[in-house]
């Protein structure tokens, strides 16, 4: 009797879930037993270059910038085509 061809998918899904979940679970257990987490305002900040971020991340670019983006894209494309 041949096994159901979809069985492989089920196995793959199981493996794909186990791979990330087992290390995460081990890390969680380790944290509970040994290493307390110590979050802080610097440690949990978004930006990580050492300089404090200023203002809001949700800014809007000026629509004129769109033209530059298109030109840049075109140049990159043309450069790529020329090299071929």
């Amino acid at each position: 009797m041949t096994p159901n061809p979809y069985l492989f998918i089920v196995i793959f899904v199981g493996v794909a879930l186990a791979f990330p979940l087992i290390p995460l679970a081990l890390a969680w257990i380790w944290r509970r037993i040994f290493q307390p987490s110590k979050p802080g305002p610097d440690k949990t900040s978004t930006y990580e270059c050492g300089v404090e971020s200023i203002g809001d991340a949700q800014i809007q670019f000026h629509s004129q910038y769109y033209l530059y983006a298109i030109i840049l894209l075109l140049k990159r494309f043309a450069g790529g085509l020329k090299r071929k």
Partner: protein, 206 residues
Amino acid sequence: MSEQIDERLRTELQRQGVWVTSMQDLYNWGRKNSIWPLQFGLACCAIEMIATAASRYDIARFGGEIFRPSPRQADLMIVAGTVTKKMAPQIVRLYNQMADPKYVIAMGACAISGGPFKQGYNVLKGIDRYIPVDVYIPGCPPRPEALLHAFMELQSKIDSQKLTGAHKAVHLDPKQPSEFPVPTFGKHDLEPPGNPVVFQPPKIER
């Protein structure tokens, strides 16, 4: 809970072909052989750090070649060079952003004390005023061998850290801080000029 293995018993067992380990040894063995430094250099000492990472001196032999550009992924901060007062808040903030456990090597006379620029108005007189330093390397600049030696010293320090008990490692102790106050630019100097929690210079009595 006694997780310590008697050394003589262990050697005796190894002679019989039985290898035993403890959680603490396994944990420290893994940590000490995969120290990832934070990738930044401040002045001339950084050139020596680059030489250490390149093929001739080859820090990869010690598992420390993976220089990370993000503090979130780094275990070790090598302060290689002159820390100006303009730069000091950024260094402290980067240290704060590193994940525990984290270690610091102060490389060169500048990082230890200000070095040749100690009398200057704009140079911090040692990074240990703000963050705890694990290994100091004297020299101007220290040779790559000296950095490797500091790396080995750090490895032996990591190896000797305890997992449990009263003398457990700093990062395992919930009462020990993981972030240190970032100094701000004052009128004449950084404020505060030092963090009294980590910086306790000996008093000179005349």
